[in-house]
Symmetry: C2
Subunit: 121 residues, 2 copies
């Protein structure tokens, strides 16, 4: 493989809440996404989900508290924990999660991007 420049990858798409896969490692996918506004509350019963923010502000709204992530900050949402991501306009973030992870967990909505639809860039 070639090395990956993360900001180059962010420059290749504009859609929000549409994860793009940029690498695979040990059965986990490295995905990047842009966010703006609110996604939908969901959980992943069998997968922890690692978030790293590169630009903007991503709030992971949990039932117990809000985790507000700015650039250079990260958080792991443990499996089974309900979270509703909310982002300031033009927020850029990375997720690392098993390839089995469903985008919006058990909630299939019109904004859901199935794993099969998640494009490699």
């Amino acid at each position: 493989m070639k090395k990956i420049n993360i900001s180059d990858k962010f420059s290749q798409f504009k859609e929000v809440w549409t994860p793009k896969v940029i690498a695979e490692s040990n059965g986990q996918l490295v995905k990047i996404a842009k966010g703006s506004g609110e996604l939908v509350s969901h959980k992943h019963d069998n997968e922890d989900e690692l978030f790293i923010v590169f630009k903007g502000q991503l709030t992971l709204q949990l039932r117990s508290e809000n985790i507000v992530l700015k650039p250079g900050e990260m958080y792991v949402v443990p499996r089974g924990v309900e979270h509703c991501p909310k982002a300031e306009p033009d927020t850029h973030f990375m997720m690392i999660e098993p390839s089995s992870t469903a985008h919006t967990g058990e909630h299939h909505t019109e904004v859901t991007v199935s794993s099969e639809q998640q494009e490699w860039i």
Copy 2:
């Protein structure tokens, strides 16, 4: 867990080639390390190793080529691939790898930090 500020974590230690664990997700550990000079050539037979550089320059010297990573760049060294990391002074980088991953693979040298010795910060 609390959110993690990655640069705050880097400010908590000075040693080079001494991975510190900052998070766990799906059986993989998120580690950060500082590098300067050369480590030792090694491979991990069963683990892919994801590198992300935050500061400085990290060169992954493979047998086939040198992968030169600057801030915002990443690379996955596939399992079984020999690599010798080399870094400019005060290079900061992250590794994500299974908890089973041995620091310098099959090469146990005086610079090796065993998994048990890799401190959580």
